[in-house]
């Protein structure tokens, strides 16, 4: 069964086995406003936890999307740049930007669950 996890930087992550599907939370979407572009990572790109692997751009600003774990990009959501509305759908459906093969599952322990993320948002 898939679980949803969250980061301090407002990534939303679906963990399925050793694959992390990474998107951005509703909070991040609202903070950015209307999106105009998504820059996807190339497949095979090695990523480190906390490093950016994609960029979402709104009219006003660009926001980096950080990897929640060390790993390797195994798939990028190639349809998203031409259908930016996709980012609003759940991360486990069409809202994922990339899928990352997790190399160190121990890092998952640092991610927040939904209740912790809600609490975190209230603290901002």
């Amino acid at each position: 069964m898939a679980v949803l996890k969250y980061t301090n930087d407002h990534e939303c992550v679906k963990i399925e086995g050793d694959i992390a599907w990474v998107g951005i939370t509703k909070y991040a979407q609202e903070a950015l406003g209307d999106l105009v572009y998504v820059e996807l990572p190339s497949v095979g790109k090695k990523v480190k936890k906390g490093e950016y692997f994609a960029v979402v751009e709104s009219v006003k600003t660009a926001a980096e999307v950080y990897s929640p774990v060390d790993g390797e990009v195994i798939e990028a959501n190639d349809n998203m740049p031409t259908d930016l509305e996709m980012i609003k759908s759940p991360v486990g459906e069409q809202g994922w930007i990339a899928k990352i093969k997790i190399s160190d599952p121990a890092q998952l322990a640092n991610l927040m669950d939904e209740a912790a993320y809600k609490k975190y948002l209230e603290s901002l």
């Binding site: 609202e30 406003g33 209307d34 105009v36 572009y37 820059e39 960029v55 751009e57 709104s58 009219v59 006003k60 660009a62 740049p81």
Partner: protein
């Protein structure tokens, strides 16, 4: 402590996303979002609160005021007729720009000027320092300024206030009765569309806002779309595209100079269009075909009208001709781009005849 305009409650009541700009808590965009707001201004009419900007009035003998403006700006004011407005800059002794502004000669001995929010205190100190004794400078930090911008603006002004503004030239201003007191209405703006700016007291501003917002052709528009609209027009934004380190000639503003005989600048502000996907923003390096830096973007972003990435920046004069192929460096990638003429989108400001 961020400041609030007299319309702050109007913005929050409309669900605006607020953000800090030049020390003010201002609406960035409303519920429709920046893309809809931008498109609405290009097709109908948008309502903006720009009360954070500075408004000053100068009184005095006309020859003294004209002499004063010609001392603090590089422009000519001798031929500016009553009611006519003019875009110019305040120049520093080193030739840089202290601010850009629009000056309106309301009548022969009374002038009005609008200053950038982030520069108004610097400007006023500078202006007072150079002001002749015969001229008085009135400045109230509290005055409100509303802008109606878009092709339906004239219709909105007529249907909301019963004003006939059809004979007003673009770049002109005069007083109208908006239901309580005489208010200065100027036909100009920062979007490239026909439009009006309305200067009113803070007591009157919420009523004027409410009346305008009820018009079916009007949508409230925040500062985010104001920025994308002006970018499409190639209008410089002070603090980004022009500042004390850039001269009017470098900024491609030679048309405002009364003396155009100066030397050709080594760099010029140009328009840039990306030829490949990606968005380049302020600070991005402009490079030539061998990767050498030849300039940098001072503004950049997505053009909602063109659905393309555009920007402006300073580039070595030799590389500044329209059509020159360049590259813009974004996150490790040199994106192919080209120097283009500005505005990026044709201006549709109402130009019956030259008003200056």
């Amino acid at each position: 402590m961020t400041r609030r305009t007299a319309l702050h409650a109007s913005h929050t009541a409309l669900g605006a996303k607020m953000g800090e700009f030049a020390g003010y808590d201002m609406p960035l965009y409303y519920k429709e979002g920046v893309l809809s707001e931008h498109e609405w201004v290009r097709s109908r009419a948008g309502l903006f609160d720009v009360s954070h900007m500075g408004q000053i009035i100068l009184h005095g003998p006309e020859e003294d005021i004209i002499k004063f403006w010609e001392q603090v700006t590089p422009s000519s004011f001798a031929k500016l007729g009553d009611g006519a407005a003019k875009y110019t800059v305040l120049t520093s002794p080193k030739g840089g720009m202290i601010d850009d502004l629009i000056v309106t000669r309301i009548w022969h001995n009374k002038f009005f000027a609008v200053l950038n929010a982030g520069r108004k205190s610097v400007d006023i100190e500078w202006l007072r320092k150079h002001l002749p004794e015969s001229v008085t400078l009135e400045y109230s930090d509290m005055e409100s300024l509303l802008a109606v911008q878009g092709p339906d603006s004239e219709k909105v002004m007529r249907e909301t206030f019963g004003l006939d503004v059809s004979d007003m030239n673009y770049m002109s201003g005069k007083y109208f009765d908006l239901g309580h007191a005489a208010s200065l209405v100027s036909r100009l703006g920062y979007t490239g569309e026909d439009g009006f700016e309305i200067s009113v007291s803070p007591n009157e501003a919420p009523r004027i806002w409410r009346q305008l917002i009820e018009h079916p052709d009007i949508m409230p528009v925040g500062l985010a779309a104001r920025d994308s609209l002006r970018l499409e027009m190639g209008y410089p934004l002070y603090g980004h595209d022009i500042d004390e380190t850039t001269s009017p000639a470098e900024a491609n503003l030679s048309w405002i100079l009364r003396d155009k005989s100066g030397p050709k600048p080594a760099r010029l502000r140009v328009g840039v269009k990306l030829l490949d996907k990606g968005i380049a923003r302020e600070g991005a390096e402009i490079r030539n075909e061998v990767g050498k830096k030849i300039g940098a973007l001072t503004s950049g972003g997505f053009s909602p009208s063109l659905k393309e990435s555009i920007g402006m920046g300073y580039i070595e004069a030799a590389m500044s001709a329209v059509g020159t192929n360049i590259f813009v460096h974004v996150r490790g990638r040199d994106i192919p781009a080209v120097v283009v003429a500005m505005p990026f989108v044709p201006a549709r400001t109402k130009m019956k005849k030259a008003a200056h």
